[in-house]
């Protein structure tokens, strides 16, 4: 078996009286789609925040490609090639769709205006943004210069997913990317995930949608009460088993977790 590309050992994160991560382990293999499932409040989002530098764990280690890393901010993680869609979406409400998609990696005009006046190439950014949104089937966005705060819940999520996928890199993390999306748009996101995988980039997918998880995942990490309960192979277990494990209705046999 190859070495994991992204690994975490014994992560702990406490918020006052609340324990969000309780000595949690984690492994992502190269090129795979790893689904993370678990109850609400199980600590899934906290786990991926700890992996992507948005939260600094109280204890535990994170390893990327066999090297110990210590991300102090999401920017660190991004520079190491980890791209994330957070559950809260991380968008600036008053800015436009294109502004948000290119935040931190804006395109500049070619030639003098771009080089010396550092002028943004708005037409190019808008065209790119429109293209990515159409790829996701978000056809109801009438005005690409709309402020993000005026978008519907699903449109907003679509923009965030489009951003992460467009700038694909070493690892892509998606925290419930289809929660607010419609049937068509969800479908397109799943296709997009497959597409990214075929480019060889591994993906972490958090989702409560079991059919989707079982459709795309190579392995499923089941999270319960702040720690990894077990990792299963979607071929070996049924959805019912997975749900029973994650809610605590059934206990998995002890395996090397």
């Amino acid at each position: 078996m190859t070495d994991p590309i992204l690994q975490a050992k014994g992560l702990v994160k406490r918020y006052g009286r609340v324990t969000a991560l309780d000595h949690c382990d984690f492994e992502l293999m190269p090129g795979e789609i790893l689904a993370v499932i678990g109850d609400n409040g199980a600590g899934k989002s906290t786990l991926i925040k700890a992996l992507s530098g948005a939260v600094i764990p109280d204890e535990g280690e994170v390893w990327l490609e066999g090297k110990r890393v210590n991300f102090q901010s999401p920017i660190d993680a991004r520079e190491n090639g980890i791209e994330t869609v957070y559950q809260t979406l991380a968008m600036s409400p008053a800015l436009s769709i294109a502004d948000n998609m290119f935040m931190g990696r804006e395109l500049r005009k070619p030639g003098f205006a771009g080089k010396f006046l550092r002028k943004l190439d708005r037409p190019a950014m808008e065209k790119f943004a429109r293209q990515k949104l159409s790829d996701l089937g978000l056809m109801t966005i009438q005005n690409i210069n709309q402020a993000v705060e005026t978008l519907s819940g699903g449109q907003r999520q679509g923009v965030a997913v489009a951003r992460a996928a467009a700038f694909g890199s070493k690892v892509i993390i998606l925290d419930e990317p289809t929660a607010a999306l419609g049937v068509k748009e969800s479908r397109r996101v799943l296709e997009l995930i497959q597409d990214v995988k075929s480019r060889g980039i591994p993906i972490i997918l958090i989702s409560h949608n079991m059919p989707h998880v079982f459709e795309v995942a190579d392995r499923i990490h089941i999270h319960r009460l702040g720690r990894r309960l077990t990792v299963i192979n979607p071929g070996d277990y049924s959805m019912s088993d997975a749900v029973a494990f994650m809610t605590g209705a059934k206990e998995p046999e002890r395996e090397a977790a």
Partner: protein, 355 residues
Amino acid sequence: MANADNYEASTRGGSADALAEFDEHDRGLIGRIHHILHQTPAIVPLIVLVVAVVVFGLLNPNFWRVSTLSLIFQQIGIVGILGCAQAIVILTAGIDLSVGAMAVLSSVLMGQFAFRYGIPPTFAIVLGLACGAAMGAINGWLVSKMRIPPFIVTLGTWQIWLATNYIYSANETIRSQDIEAQAAALQFWGQRFQLFGAQVTYGVVLLIVLVLIMAYVLRHTAWGRHVYAVGDDPEAAELAGVNRNRMLIQVYALAGLFCALAGWVMIGRFGSVSPSASTGVLGNIQAITAVVIGGISLFGGRGTIIGMFLGALIVGVFEMGLRMAGADAQWTYLLIGILIIGAVAVDQWIRKVSA
């Protein structure tokens, strides 16, 4: 997964992939005006401004003389530059109470560098500007790295710069005549040229150029967009890859530089270097007033620098107009208070109707 497909497959074909379109509905004249106002909210203060100019001109015809109008520009020169500093800080959801103090201290430093230590004027000015930027950077460092609320930081540094200013200068004014004789460069922005029969000072030109540059930077560069993003939702901006701390330090330092520039313009305008200039005490509230009347949100992330400029002009026009109409000082304050509220109320009302 098989069951998923049996309905999810039906999302292709037909008009599913066509972009949504609606007929543009007919608005009528009023509707169209509302629509224009709503699309470009910066027009609203412009209208307030034009109305004010017309009314004051009717009250006292002297008001319409080109010289009076050019005087208004001169009078808002300093507040306008401080307003540029304040505007970028407020766009990041901060506030800078120390702008006026930084301006006065910088002007005192320029003057003292030239007179106390005999540093050549141009060099003294450069040093003064650098000190301004450094003061701003200290504000920025305290806000970003130490995570102290901007209000507290700049409340503290306001007092610190102001007291430093009094102590360091020993409350001594450097007289205009001396500056003219020995360090004329300090008075550079006070020089004037003729335009349409009115005197225009270089300081006014500087203000207008600065506003235009900042409007461009905020609108058309990545840095400008990051300023908005940081103010809009700092956490989101950080998660999306904006280096919040670096942005804040840069913004506050730039604000400090603008303040030092305002300090230099002050020397040009008043001739002398005076540590007790009331800009040190009142500059912040004046700049904030211009910013807020200009429609920039104190919660950050919304508004334009052009709005700030118009806000400063509105206040300048009201003050001059009321003075020329013969209102005495307390009545002027009272009426300006009413007019400030009134101007913004009109603005709100137009936006509401058209929304």
